[in-house]
Amino acid sequence: MFQLETAENPQTLRRIAIDPLTRIEGHGKVTLLLDDAGRIHQVRLHNVEFRGFEVFIEGRPFWEVPVTVQRLCGICPVSHHLAAVKAMDIIAGYGPLPPTAEKLRRLMHYGQVLQSHALNFFHLASPDLLLGFDSDLTRRNIVGLVQDFPEIAKQGVLLRKYGQEVIRHTSGKRIHGTGAIPGGMNKALTAAERDELRRDIDQMIEWTLAAVHMVAALHRTKPEFYNHFGEFDSSMMGLVDERGALDFYHGGLRALDKDGATIFDHVDYSTYESVLEEEAKSWSYMKFPHIRALGPEKGWYKVGPLARVQTCDFIPTPLADLERKKMVALGAGKPLMGTLFFHWARLIEALHAAEVIRDLLDDPDILGTDLMADQGERKGEAVGVIEAPRGTLFHHYRVDENDQVSFCNLIVSTTNNNQAMNEAIRSVARTYLDGRELTEGLLNHIEVAIRAYDPCLSCATHALGQMPLQVDLVDCEGKLVARNWHNMRPAE
């Protein structure tokens, strides 16, 4: 039984909901059950929207899926696009991609990681980090950030825009483009497009590096707090290449335990079901995946930036790897488990993404026009896996002899982090909320922990809708204690 997951006598307890959560993607809520003394008995992160996306895909022709799955998410459509197309490459019988096609896909993907990480840090998380977790609620947002730190806010906007331009030049549109098709790419990069992207990339590297340094400096101001906020032990999973290096586009699955010991390594992701298992719980629409060998109680894990920079042996670009070493050194041989390290790791990854984009743009292959692989024998089933900005993303399909999808299973990044996010908020509740008068500022500590994971709850529930942007604080009788509006979700 997980601590604080299920209270013993819920009917005797007071219920507080943070509903909906703000500055996250999608619509979720947290419920807390407290006794009269304010002791916490139960903490859960729920998803309140659900519309099955798998059903929407089943019956559709396979070549359409990489385009339509982008509807899963307005924030990370490229990740779904590429995970799906990697599966459909195999279904359609294509062999290895020509170097240009693979490099263009990588370029698109690293552009997506850069823009998504910039969005999370600069727009969603930095108001907490730079203005304070319990700073004035009406200013704890991008507007307050622009007032107090105009330069940083501007960099955030431009980094995101840059990532979107990379996506546009490779997929045809900033959002919901078509770029990757089974067997390759439909669009070459022109020299003019390459030059335009090349012109600004050094600036992007400089800014992401400065952002890493800023978070490292923040950390030094209150190391105890940053080390232990939302801290809990967990396993970690991510893709690594054959050298053990971080790779967002392709690799084998590696999982390490809380001490950094290997649970499995270089697992061919097409056999993911041999190492992972999904479990449903009655109180959440999100499933709870776990490592088969360790079982549902002990087998849960983290994915995403903090997991990735610690599961890989190294990051294959120099600036990011140096920063990774500096961060990891704080653990003195043990993996870092504090939730706020996610931000540090995320920025290291943003830096890495920018470095990779530069290297790809400097590679003559990127202007090649050989965009399609050779076609061989069709397959009935395939898995595509990618490291999406928020973590490992699985797309698994079966396609019948008429070319229609007959089965579809998606394990999205946020679902992989489901148990970890619940553990994070329970850790925060224990440390900061237990036995206290609950103020908005204290409750925001819960949201800070969730935001560190950058969850995409619209992705996680495979929902197709938009989220409302309102925080209600409700007491046990259901009376509204406080309400606030945030208009934080950047328009797509």
Binding site: P61, W63, V67, P182, N186, K187, N402, Q404
Partner: protein, 239 residues
Amino acid sequence: MNDYDRFVLDGRPVHFERGQSILEAALASGAYIPNLCHHPEFKPHGSCKLCTVKVNGRFGSACTIKAMPGQEVASDTPELNGIRRVLLQMLFVEGNHFCPGCERSGNCNLQALAYDLEMLTPHYQHFFPARELDASHPDVMLDFNRCIMCELCVRASRDFDGKNVFALAGRGTASHVVVNCPSGKLGDTDFALSDKAASVCPVGAILHKRVGFAVPIGERRYDLAPISAQVPTQQAEEA
């Protein structure tokens, strides 16, 4: 040109050959009148009503009214374009047209017309009809979710391919295109990829398999120029 072989379209004279419809004559002269169910090789059908014009003050379909000397034809007017927008909106809600996920996007006449006529929203409540995909044929897929009942496929298969693969079934709002064989499956007919009917659909309802999305955004037909500006190319291709 003399007065006996021309009419006036939106204030400009248009030459016609005897027997031509107003629409045919207009297109041949390079002037655009919106249309969806028209195809130069097939008998006019007059069902979509997108080509609605005013001839000497009276409404009519440009694809079915013969051109005649002395006609004063109004087409590109706010009133007529307003009517066309409503017709388009009804087409959009009557089927399941989700452009961002459709492989015909950028090459679709319905979408191109909606852009050209500045249809900004579907306005009406969506019907969300339940329509099945037919992927039983090895080379061609049918997605009647996007069918606009122009019957071009019916006409092409019957009048050109000599096969009669498609037919209209049902009445009124329930009418729909079906595959003309006992199982109702395209795979059970002698339909072929090379049939005229396989390449005549103006929307994304009859599709060649496994080639969707091969043309990048920016290079698709209506990325290059709006549909109303492509009359000469269209004429050349279809001739």
